[in-house]
Every structure is written in C-alpha cells, then in structure tokens.
C-alpha cells in the first residue's frame, strides 16, 4: 500500500460503567466493558474498506473513535498523517461522517439552509459557499428539492442530503455508518454506484460500517470482520473467502470465535 491515509495501532475503547443505585450493596463499584480491542488497521487512499460485523461488534464505536467523537482508551491512530488524539481539528478537516441517522439535520430548515449552516461549521468561506452547495446538490441530484424543508424529504432524499453534507468540505475520508439502512433497493444501488464510481474513482477513501454482507462484497476492496470488539479477519474479499461466499465465511468465523471463547 503506497499511500496510507488511515492507520491504527492497538486501538482500544473501554467503557467504565458505574453501578450506582442499581447495585445498592456496592453503588460506587465499576464494571469495565471493552467495546473495541486492539485494532490494527491500515487503509490506503482511494480504497473502499468495509467494517463488517453483527450488531454490537464494535463497528460504530471504532468509527466514532476515528471521527474524534470518542476518545480511545489505549492505542493510537493516524488519519491523513494527523494524530487522532492530539490533532483532532486537523483530523476533522479531512473526514466526513455519513450516518443513516436522519435526525442529524434541522427538519424545519430547507436542505439548502442546512447545507449553508454546516458549510460555515466546516469553515468554508462565504464567497464560495453558495457555489459549493450548488455543486454538491447537483452531484447528489437534489438541486430541485433543496428549497423544501428537510422534514418533507423521503428517506432516500434525506440520505442524499447526508452525502451532500459530507461532500461539502471535499474530505479525504468518508466514514459511512450503515449507509443503506432504510433505503429501498434502487436508492441502495444509487448509493453503491456513487461510492464506487464517484468517490473511489476520485481517490477518496471510504470506510463503510455495515452488517449487510452482500453490500460489502459488492462495493468493498477490502473488509475487516469484527466480532465482540476484535478484528477477527481482514483482507481483500476474494482472498478472504476463496471459493466460499462472504456470508458462509462470516458465519464460520463467528462460530469459530464462539467456540474459542467457550473453550477459554
């Protein structure tokens, strides 16, 4: 890999849960839950990397750490050469987080007003904001609908506005958390096409956290399979699965992990 844009070493996230009044005998006691454990990951420029795993595997926690929304408990990471813990401002200028969360917009504002607000948060100068907004609206085919309130959009349109917002600052890395959740097959196809043919071809790196194996097989250059906070396998899809299917490979891996854990 010649041009590495994302690199993690032993990245770990532990949550400390205080027992409180739910445990009257020991209200000040704590339990430690390891959500992400010792992740070593390298992703190159222009790659589409899939983070696969069942619900609760740690995909979202890892994504949030890489987006600076969570502080790692241990380990280190570099995003576009910037240290995740010490240079968060620089890291944030290089990334976009696109989640399936519709609530991350102001529903009473129009699509264009939403983009105008987030463009300002990205530090895009007023002179070029309007032009940039029209560019990204055109890319996601939302120019005509941009004057309508966000609350009037369909799920697919809301997702496209999420993409438009992600594109505003022209980031190097797109983090997508369950990007096709709630989308119909046509909207899903459009999004996959967008990731492969617009983003990856433009040299953008895309990290997709998903539990849709078919989606990962279709759009990812490489995948990392997470289970119980650990990266159990990673590599190019074809190399990983051989003659099998990703679905079978994934099931075997999960079963093998469960057997190992039961043995321990």
């Amino acid at each position: 890999m010649t041009d590495v844009v994302l690199e993690t070493h032993n990245l770990t996230k532990q949550f400390i849960r205080r027992k409180g009044l739910s445990s009257p005998r020991n209200p000040f006691g704590k339990t430690v839950f390891t959500a992400v454990k010792g992740i070593d990951l390298t992703v190159g420029r222009g790659e589409v990397f899939g983070l696969l795993g069942p619900n609760g595997a740690g995909k979202t926690t890892l994504t949030k750490m890489l987006c600076t929304l969570l502080l790692p408990s241990a380990g280190s990471a570099k995003v576009c050469g910037y240290d995740l813990a010490r240079q968060q401002g620089k890291v944030k200028s290089k990334i976009a987080l696109i989640s399936s969360e519709e609530r991350s917009f102001y529903w009473r504002l129009t699509g264009r007003q939403n983009l105008d607000f987030f463009a300002a948060l990205h530090g895009i100068s007023k002179q070029i904001t309007r032009q940039r907004i029209e560019e990204v609206l055109e890319i996601v085919d939302m120019t005509e609908a941009a004057g309508r309130r966000f609350q009037e959009y369909s799920t697919g349109m809301k997702q496209r506005m999420g993409l438009a917002r992600g594109l505003l600052a022209d980031p190097e890395i797109f983090f997508m958390d369950e990007p096709t959740k709630g989308l119909d097959p046509i909207a899903t196809w459009h999004l996959h096409d967008f990731i492969r043919n617009r983003l990856a071809e433009a040299g953008k790196t895309v990290i997709v956290a998903t539990h849709h194996l078919a989606e990962a097989e279709q759009i990812c250059d490489r995948v990392g399979i997470m289970y119980a906070g650990e990266m159990r396998a990673s590599g190019p899809v074809k190399e990983l699965i051989g003659d099998s299917t990703l679905s079978d490979f994934f099931r075997d891996l999960v079963e093998q992990t469960m057997v190992e854990r039961a043995g321990n």
């Binding site: 600076t68 929304l69 502080l71 969360e101 991350s104 917009f105 102001y106 009473r108 105008d116 300002a120």
Partner: protein
C-alpha cells in the same frame, strides 16, 4: 453568524410562537402596571425606591426586563446543548473542524440577541404606553453594565452546561442561582426591604449589581461615578467565574468523550 442565522430561521419557522412571545411581554407589562398603581402611591414604597426616583412601575419594568438576561445567561448554554443532543445534530456538528467550545458559545448567540430584542420591547412598551421616561438615561454606563452582566451570567451558564454534559438533566447550579437571584437580587422589590443578613447574602449574586447599575443609569442618569462600584463588582465576579467555567466545561467534555455520552440525553 451561522448559528444566529440558523436559529433565527428556526425561530420564525414557528410563526405563531414567535408572535406570541411578544404578546406575552405586553400582558406582563400591563399586569405590573396595575400592581404599581396599587402599591405605587404608598409612602413606604416611594421611600424604599427613592434611590431610583420613587416610581415602582419603572423600577419593576427594568427588573423583569433585564432579569431575562439572567435566565438566558444561565440557561441558554445548557438548554441549547441539550436541544442539539435531543434533535440529534450535536454529533454532526462535532465532526466538523469547529470546536465544541465554539459551538456552545455560538449556539447561544440567538438567545442573547432575541433577549436583547425582548428587553427593548419591554422598555418601548413601558415608554410609549405607560409613561416611563428614559430621557435622562446614561446609556453608556447602562450598556457596559449590560455587557458585564451577560459575561457574569454566562460564566455561571457555562458551569451549568458542564453539569448537563455529564448528568444530562437536573442541573443544580441553574436552579440554585435562578431561585436565589430572583429572591434576593432585587428584581421585584429593592433589596433594602430585606432583613440585614439577607441583604448581605444578596451581594453574592451578580444580578444585584447588574440591576442596581442599570436602574441607576436608565432611570436616574447615573454615570460611571455612581455605578462604578457595581461595574467593578461585576468585573471581579466575571474574572473569577469565567476561567472556572471554562475549565469545568473542558473537563466535562473530556469526561463525556471518554464515557461516550457526548450525544446522550
């Protein structure tokens, strides 16, 4: 400016509520006008208010108008953070290069701007409809007192937002200060009618100095020499509480990022 514009657009998108807020100001002023008519002629009231010209209506008008800044300063930071958490926009903002401190401070711009507008409306209604005179008002000392008031109240508000960041609900700071300030700060009555020990206690709250300075400036034309002591008290208060509030907020954010509870509500 982006926050101001966004919040303005959000506010006016609820047109009925927007208009209703101004209507409520009018009715509140009318109510106090009649209370003032009832009490205003009493010699004891005029004696207690002699420092401010003896008119209860103008006294209470300034009190209720400017105590709005107390509510906004104390509540807007925590309310706005909580609102962004609940709407779901906080994380989307936090992945932009804008810092959280900047987001928190900017998110209250509209609250302060709108409160200034509301205070202006209070004074206009009092002046135009109920004969309160501001002709001899010393505007500069009043403005300086207002700026210091905003800074002092905001410091407390940022500490309050730190609590919200960690505990999500049930902020003791805002509750304690709002209740004590309304009771002791001279919003509805002069502190001179309080027992001695409560009067001493009232000097611990910035609203006491704010209202004293603003009333003297606007109603009696009090210049810097008359309100200098109040302004100095507000400066000292801000110098102590502002750094403390910023440290508290930084610690609260670091804790929330560690716990993963930044966007929880």
């Amino acid at each position: 400016m982006a926050f101001l514009k966004k919040d303005f657009l959000m506010e006016v998108s609820y047109r009925f509520s927007f208009v209703l807020q101004f209507a409520s100001i009018f009715f509140s002023v009318v109510m106090f006008y009649f209370v003032a008519k009832l009490l205003g002629e009493a010699p004891s009231v005029q004696k207690s208010l002699s420092e401010y010209g003896g008119n209860y209506f103008s006294f209470v008008l300034i009190g209720i108008a400017f105590s709005n800044f107390l509510s906004v300063g104390l509540g807007s930071f925590s309310t706005n953070i909580r609102s962004e958490q609940m709407i779901g926009t906080l994380e989307a903002m936090l992945v932009t290069p804008t810092t959280l401190s900047n987001i928190v401070l900017s998110s209250s711009q509209w609250s302060f701007a709108f409160t200034s507008l509301r205070v202006g409306v209070y004074l206009l209604i009092g002046g135009f409809f109920f004969g309160v005179s501001f002709t001899g008002a010393a505007v500069l000392p009043a403005l300086l007192a207002l700026v210091l008031t905003v800074v002092a109240f905001s410091s407390l508000g940022i500490i309050s937002a730190s609590f919200i960041m960690i505990f999500k609900r049930g902020d003791p700071i805002a509750f304690a200060i709002t209740t004590s300030s309304t009771l002791l700060g001279g919003v509805y009555y002069p502190i001179s009618i309080l027992p001695g020990w409560l009067q001493s206690l009232s000097y611990l709250f910035p609203i006491t100095y704010s209202l004293h300075a603003i009333r003297l400036s606007l109603l009696q034309g009090g210049g810097f020499s008359e309100v200098g002591g109040d302004l100095l008290a507000l400066v000292i208060f801000s110098c102590i509480t502002l750094p403390i509030s910023l440290v508290c907020f930084r610690l609260a954010v670091a804790r929330a990022k560690r716990d993963g509870s930044l966007a929880h509500y």
